[in-house]
């Protein structure tokens, strides 16, 4: 087994992959988003419940590789219980990390288990995997606020 393989598949990632957190679609929810990765067919359906300005629940279902599944699991840990603003800040930090081509030093205070994905950022073709759940979260959240506004 090779060095670069271990830099991508950190133990944390494999743990989340094997034992995903918060998996399964739950009620009640405010908005749902379905996202698909057109190059490999991986997909995720993700629901968001916002209560008093806080992300009170994130639930999801999907099929995909270890990276997409683990990053969605990490997502639920990072945003659940936080305000919408905090969740968006975390999301921005994660997206920035993933698009940084491995040149960005992740902030463990913000990203917690998410720092394990730093190695994935070196593999452009896998970045989309790591972002799949986050794109669903962003989209669902936008729909929530649309509904709130409407």
């Amino acid at each position: 087994m090779t060095v670069n393989l271990e830099s991508m598949y950190q133990e944390i990632i494999l743990d989340h992959y094997k034992n995903p957190h918060g998996r399964g679609l739950r009620d009640p929810f405010d908005a749902e988003s379905f996202q698909v990765n057109p190059t490999c067919g991986d997909e995720v359906t993700l629901r968001v419940k916002v209560t008093d300005g806080k992300v009170s629940d994130v639930s999801y279902e999907g099929q995909g590789c270890s990276i997409s599944q683990a990053s969605t699991s990490v997502l639920t840990d990072l945003v659940t219980g936080h305000t919408v603003d905090e969740a968006l800040t975390t999301m921005d930090a994660f997206v920035e990390l993933m698009q940084g081509r491995g040149n960005i030093e992740p902030d463990e205070d913000v990203l917690e288990d998410g720092v394990a994905f730093a190695g994935v950022a070196k593999y452009p073709a896998r970045v989309k995997c790591a972002l799949l759940g986050w794109m669903a979260f962003k989209d669902a959240l936008a729909r929530t606020s649309n509904e709130v506004e409407a």
């Binding site: 090779t2 060095v3 670069n4 494999l14 490999c40 067919g41 991986d42 590789c65 270890s66 990276i67």
Partner: protein, 429 residues
Amino acid sequence: MTTTTANTTPLDVAAVRADFPILSRTVRDGKPLVYLDSGATSQRPVQVLDAERRFLETANAAVHRGAHQLAEEATDAYEDARAKIADFVGATPGELVFTKNATEGINLVAYAMGNAATDPGRAVASFAVGPGDEIVITEMEHHANLVPWQQLCQRTGATLRWFGVTEDGRLDLSNLDELITERTKVVAFAHQSNVLGTVNPVEPLVRKAHEVGALVLLDACQSVPHFPVDFTALGVDFAVFSGHKMLAPSGIGVLYGRRELLEAMPPFLTGGSMIELVRMEGSTFAPPPQKFEAGVPMTSQAVGLGAAVDYLNAIGMDRVAAHEHLLAERALTGLAEIPGVRIIGPPDTVDRGATVAFVVDGVHPHDAGQVLDSLGIAVRVGHHCAWPLHRSCGVPATVRATFYLYNELSEVDALVNGVREAQRFFGVA
């Protein structure tokens, strides 16, 4: 393609490999490159690279437009390439249209058929498509031979129908007479599936289609590079293939069309070099193939494709096919021996090319591909532009290894070992 090596000397793979500079590079911290993704795009031998460069350093000019010496030489090089390529697939030069890739070729036919409805010229009735008409494809098509027909149906009100795929990855022709009827305008299908490796039977489809007056388009992207193909003998009306999958440059593809069809068919892309007479009020068009080659064409790329054909001819397509047969056999056997690995496609080498797709229980294709990549083995993972086929096979994605004349048997073994490694890494073996 059950060609055997009985009456040909086997391919000298080492000699072939020496012609491909990229095959000597390393990847991922010094691993020798094991390139098993030729089904996506092939690599280029120095003979092709040199032919294109020589053209550009000595004879480059706009073809069919100039009268000076360079323009003459460039036009000759371009048309000589066309003649050579035509010969390679059993056609005449006037039946060969250069496109940017196979995808454009299929779109060309689909749009030209749509255009026939408003064409003031002598469009034959068989081209015009409208409500009540049907286009028949198969569930194993590459998106390139699927989406253009969906779009044609959307534009014209015609209906798309399709053949299914059997459990062992063959075309299900049991409802041939139901699907191909008097309403059918076009039957379009892959000669060889880019996922299953299945080589489809052309003869019964051509016979039935012609019986009802439908046109046949053959997607030959995965056949022409890999075994001898003669479009005239096959009796198809149209066929397409891409240069980049057969050792030639990217940016060039071929549409074959029977001469009388190309004569009758309205144009698709319009502009310079494809006209006969242009007035502000209206234009008339040149005879084929020029009619379908608007603008300055892919000149050096055509020359490169001509050189690729020379290269393949020098080796012999029978020999290429025989070598790939050995590779496919070894891969199918080796993978079948691994518990938890399932081949998506025919399990044996009967009517089957060296395209081997598979899934590994408990390891997502993306992850399997990543492990292989870390070992220097380049395969493709995903749905390989055949999403409906994957859905019908009940898998979201597969790992696909595709072999070509420059692959060695030891590379097949590397693949098999790599798959075992992926199982170990993800704890499923």
